[in-house]
Assembly symmetry: C3
Homo-oligomer: 142 residues x 3
């Protein structure tokens, strides 16, 4: 991070979701905005209240299906206890359970993800156009 | 973050909760401790095991109600499988599901939260006096 | 972090799990790799898709039992909706719910955990040999 001119440490991505609930693999898009010399933390942040971000299996898309199906079984759309007038309370609950951010260690421009890991944007109230903020915090190499 | 004298990058907030389970909006309190020139990550950390912190809707308080109600339905207080003698195992499980920290990107002193997002302290075993640790890690501007 | 020579800001731990689902207390191992002069964030990252990391009670092991039991009741191993051929979809869902990373504030080499908090590696598809990546991002003292 000491090279001049410095590259920006905050970036933004957009995601267009195509259905109500969906996992969108954003691993490559995140990886592409990492400066080659960067080491530290890459924080992927979702500035929405009915969407989330998670890290899970990159290889078999059935895993994403199973995660969405199981979260949907746990938190059904219709529930007599829900008061929120927009009718998307389940999406807010799912967003709270999965979380609005993930932090990934980075070494010299490379995400230190495990072999099977990818970064997934989680749509719970689509289809919509969504944003992702990526914030890098450097940990200088020795 | 280069101005002299440097402002502290770790702060602490206190929250008094008034009931058993409750979401307390701490967005303003967190925002107030950000130095105007700070860019990077603001990490909000809860040093308790029966409380959590989450980011969700700031506008309609019914959303907070629905989140607490649904988490309460999923993880009921009484469960024959629970062994912990204090009787608050459900609060520990809820804390594990929502998590003890959230990280928010900050640009020049401003939390990069989405339009509808706020930061909520989640009380699951109140009423109590609680602490929140705020840690800033800088990402120098170019 | 200004002392010369600099100590490395990224480390790795290994954990051997002994059973299918298990919480392993890694607080001491994480604490041991913190340089004495370090202040900032310690991010504990699990590069696996059927394991997670959480912060919860360090004192009574019954709490860990109750968390695993309740998560196991919520997300049972067998579910007609699961498609993933490996048969470990429940482990992937649990990993998504608890999350792949935790961030802990550090002040001069000391984790700012609460009195009752510890850091737990969460095995959901063991027994296996697992890795943990620890990434430090500095927040210089004033």
């Amino acid at each position: 991070m000491n090279a001049m001119p410095r590259e920006p440490l905050q970036g933004e991505l957009t995601v267009k979701t195509g259905t109500r609930t969906e996992l969108v693999n954003v691993t490559r898009k995140v990886a592409e905005i990492l400066p080659a010399a960067f080491s530290g933390i890459c924080h992927v942040f979702v500035p929405h209240t009915t969407a989330a971000v998670t890290i899970n299996e990159n290889a078999d898309p059935d895993v994403g299906h199973d995660i969405l199906a199981e979260i949907g079984r746990l938190v059904p759309d219709h529930n007599p206890v829900f008061r929120h007038a927009e009718g998307n309370s389940a999406a807010h609950v799912k967003a709270a359970l999965l979380g609005s951010g993930v932090s990934i260690p980075v070494a010299r421009g490379k995400l230190m993800l495990g072999t099977w890991q990818g970064i997934f944007f989680c749509e719970f109230d689509g289809p919509r156009s969504r944003r992702i903020v990526v914030q890098l915090t450097p940990a200088p190499d020795s």
